[in-house]
């Protein structure tokens, strides 16, 4: 049995799932969980929903309490950044933070020689030039971000401009409207969420946002203006490329994210659009990745994919943990007990949901990047719809909005593996006949 730890980098949904799965699957050796945020692992989806709304306080977001973490016997290092990984020797470089080991024999400060590493560092919010240091301009990725935005919306009837009309921007718009703010949603694409769900479903969502009083604007952001009466470094508006100006007290940038791979400089690793992995979630021998940061060969879809979905973070964390242990057992570095595990390709049915107003959107499979979409509108006023997404002759994704979630489970089977388009259409029609 190795005295070296397995290190999981990134202490959020994927990292926590990996750490728990390592223990459940029989890793009794040292286990280090490294996260650069100060908080215990917490959940992100509620940040743009219940937390922003004020119905939940931060402690409600904890994925596990201290008491629930204790039995894992973690060497938990919060407020600690991983700054480098040497893949060949599986050595991490760590920067500051609580619990970085003191100089010990054979152990340099800030270096951690590992039996295996799971990279679960997620993504970071993108920002725009000129936004840095301008008070009132926010991103929404971390708990701190969400609390700052919530504080910015504490006063009634603020003018909020949301830049980016993807899933995150739409969710924040819905909450801000419910709180009574004056909301403008700006996107380069005129249809909200079009990239994720296609134009027809996007247009239905646009109707809902308009009906709730959100102003939808098409345009590219050119820069910001500062407030005239307030402090000089406070935002006063958003300037668009066509010269128009959207006055704002608060601005949210929801323009997507970049995989947190900047710390992975080892040329042995491919870090273009996430950490590139094989079908087993392995980026190199002993190095695995999971969650938003991982781009892997999905065995069913036959191309590299990367998902920023909550469900995938957990499932992939678990898969990466099991596969790493199987590899270590094969190397003789881990005693698997009675049944030596085998590495298994990671082939999930992707799933995501979004909540906007009372509308729940749920999707299975691949909805982005489809080359054909067929939308069945069940009820325009209630925004009830089902959409089927295809590539070539196969159906690969299905989405439902405004339909009882219990019924949607039946749709999962339709796209669990790519099915011929016509067959999928019939099965969707059968599954939603009762709606």
């Amino acid at each position: 049995m190795s005295a070296r730890p397995i290190a999981v980098v990134g202490a959020s949904a994927a990292g926590l799932a990996a750490a728990e799965a390592l223990r459940r699957s029989g890793w009794h050796g040292p286990l280090t969980l490294i996260g650069d945020e100060d908080q215990l692992p917490y959940d992100r989806p509620p940040l743009s929903k219940q937390l922003l709304h004020g119905t939940w306080e931060p402690d409600r977001l904890l994925l596990r309490t201290r008491d629930q973490l204790d039995p894992l016997g973690l060497d938990l290092r919060l407020g600690t950044r991983a700054t480098g990984l040497d893949a060949a020797t599986r050595t991490l470089t760590l920067d500051g933070g609580v619990g970085v080991p003191p100089l010990e024999q054979g152990r340099e400060r800030g270096r951690l020689e590992c039996a295996g590493v799971i990279v679960a560092t997620g993504v970071a919010a993108r920002t725009l030039p000129g936004a840095d240091g301008l008070a009132g301009v926010h991103t929404l990725r971390t708990l701190d971000d969400a609390l700052a935005l919530r504080a910015g919306l504490a006063d009634p009837a603020r003018r909020l401009v949301i830049v980016g009309n993807g899933v995150l921007g739409c969710e924040a718009a819905a909450v801000a409207r419910e709180l009574g703010h004056d909301v403008t949603l700006v996107g380069r694409d005129p249809v909200p969420m079009a990239g994720a769900v296609g134009t027809e479903v996007g247009e239905l969502l646009a109707e809902e946002h308009r009906a709730r009083g959100v102003r939808l604007v098409t345009g590219a952001v050119d820069g910001f203006t500062v407030a005239e009466d307030g402090a000089p470094a406070r935002v006063g508006g958003v300037r668009l490329a066509d010269g128009s100006l959207l006055p704002a007290d608060v601005v949210l940038l929801a323009i997507g994210s970049t995989p947190a791979v900047d710390w992975l400089a080892d040329p042995a690793l491919d870090t273009s659009d996430g950490l590139r992995c094989d079908a087993y979630c392995a980026a190199a021998p002993g190095i695995y990745a999971a969650g938003d940061v991982a781009r892997w060969d999905h065995p069913v879809h036959g191309r590299p994919v990367r998902f920023e979905h909550r469900m995938n973070a957990t499932e992939q964390g678990m898969a990466a943990a099991r596969n790493l242990l199987a590899e270590l057992a094969a190397e003789g570095a881990h005693d698997p007990g009675d049944t030596p595990p085998e590495r298994r390709p990671f082939a999930p049915v992707p799933y995501f949901w979004s909540d906007q107003y009372a509308l729940k959107i749920q999707a299975y499979g691949l909805t982005a990047g489809a080359d054909r979409v067929e939308t069945t509108l069940l009820d325009r006023d209630e925004r009830r719809t089902v959409a089927l997404y295809g590539r070539g002759d196969s159906a690969v994704g299905v989405l439902a909005a405004g339909i009882p979630p219990r019924q949607i489970r039946a749709l999962r089977a339709v796209v669990a593996t790519p099915v011929p388009w016509d067959e999928a259409r019939e099965r969707v029609a059968a599954a939603t006949a009762a709606s």
Binding site: M311, P404, R406, R409
Partner: protein, 64 residues
């Protein structure tokens, strides 16, 4: 084994039902999880642990 739920947090993903359909179900109207069996028999334990681990909203707590 005893199961408790923090159903307010449930996002209606339904993964628990896929994994352990004898222990979990969803409400018709909003998909929120329903516990069918708070003290399931031993043959369900592995599935329940898996469901608790996979739930994307940390709703399910298992007391062994």
């Amino acid at each position: 084994m005893k199961i408790t739920l923090d159903a307010d947090k449930c996002c209606a993903a339904g993964q628990c039902v896929l994994i352990a359909p004898e222990v979990f179900d969803q409400r018709d109207e909003d998909g929120v999880v329903v516990l069918l069996d708070a003290e399931p028999a031993a043959d369900q334990h592995a599935a329940v642990r898996e469901a608790a681990a996979i739930c994307p909203a940390a709703v399910i707590e298992v007391h062994e």
